[in-house]
């Protein structure tokens, strides 16, 4: 069963705007990761946030984690057409961080 659930399922914005995607999960985690998938390609790791961290930045990406609410958000600032892709959150399964469970993703479209 899906551990992470992304929201919204689809998001369409204009270039230059910010995009926010949310992820909710069900059980305790050690870390949460975000991946991007361009159409017809494999997933690419974007960022990992550990359960004892609340916020993390990487370039135009900002990830937050609220373990009390079992939720995370991914913010992409100043979006570009090249950011058009599906974004997935992935959580580790208790007992071993190498095994991940992925949500169904948010499909982001950035219009030029």
């Amino acid at each position: 069963s899906q551990q992470g659930e992304e929201d919204p399922q689809a998001l369409s914005i204009q270039e230059g705007e910010n995009a926010t995607m949310n992820c909710s999960y069900k059980t305790s985690i050690n870390n949460l990761q975000w991946y991007r998938q361009n159409s017809g390609r494999g997933l690419v790791h974007l960022i990992l946030i550990r359960s004892n961290e609340r916020e993390k930045h990487s370039g135009r990406l900002r990830v937050t984690l609220d373990t009390s609410k079992k939720s995370s958000s991914l913010l992409i600032t100043a979006s570009r057409a090249a950011d058009t892709a599906s974004y997935f959150c992935a959580t580790d399964v208790s007992g071993g961080s190498e095994k991940l469970v992925f949500g169904k993703g948010t499909k982001l479209t950035v219009n030029p």
């Binding site: 991946y35 997933l43 990992l48 190498e98 991940l100 169904k104 993703g105």
Partner: protein, 114 residues
């Protein structure tokens, strides 16, 4: 530029035929994963290996699927016999256990069973 490779990229086959997908993980990675992606189910973990030993294949239909690592540079996923419901994109990913937990995905094999 180290990357995971998968062959074939596309495979169309008839129901009942055997299908073998191959994956070359990144050199030095000791953990290999097989995933299946469909619109309906999303990305599902089928099986994974560490140091070539299977750790978990609970996501895999045992009667028709098998996964092996004949050596550290090759992982295989075999379906015999294939069925139309097996149509999906199959991804291989590798990682370094004890490292950053980041998984590196291959480009996938798009399987169509008619």
């Amino acid at each position: 530029d180290a990357r995971v490779t998968q062959t074939p990229r596309d495979k169309v086959t008839e129901m009942g035929q055997e299908v073998t997908m191959r994956c070359q993980p990144i050199l030095g990675h000791n953990t290999v994963f097989w995933y299946r992606q469909t619109m309906k189910q999303g990305l599902e973990l089928l099986a994974y290996f560490r140091n070539r030993a299977p750790l978990d294949d609970s996501g895999m239909p045992k009667d028709r699927f098998s996964a092996e690592m004949p050596d550290a540079t090759l992982a295989t996923l075999k379906i015999q016999p294939s069925e139309p419901r097996d149509s999906a994109v199959y991804f291989c990913a590798s990682a370094l256990f004890g490292g950053t937990y980041e998984q590196y995905f291959g480009p996938g094999t798009r399987l169509t069973v008619t």
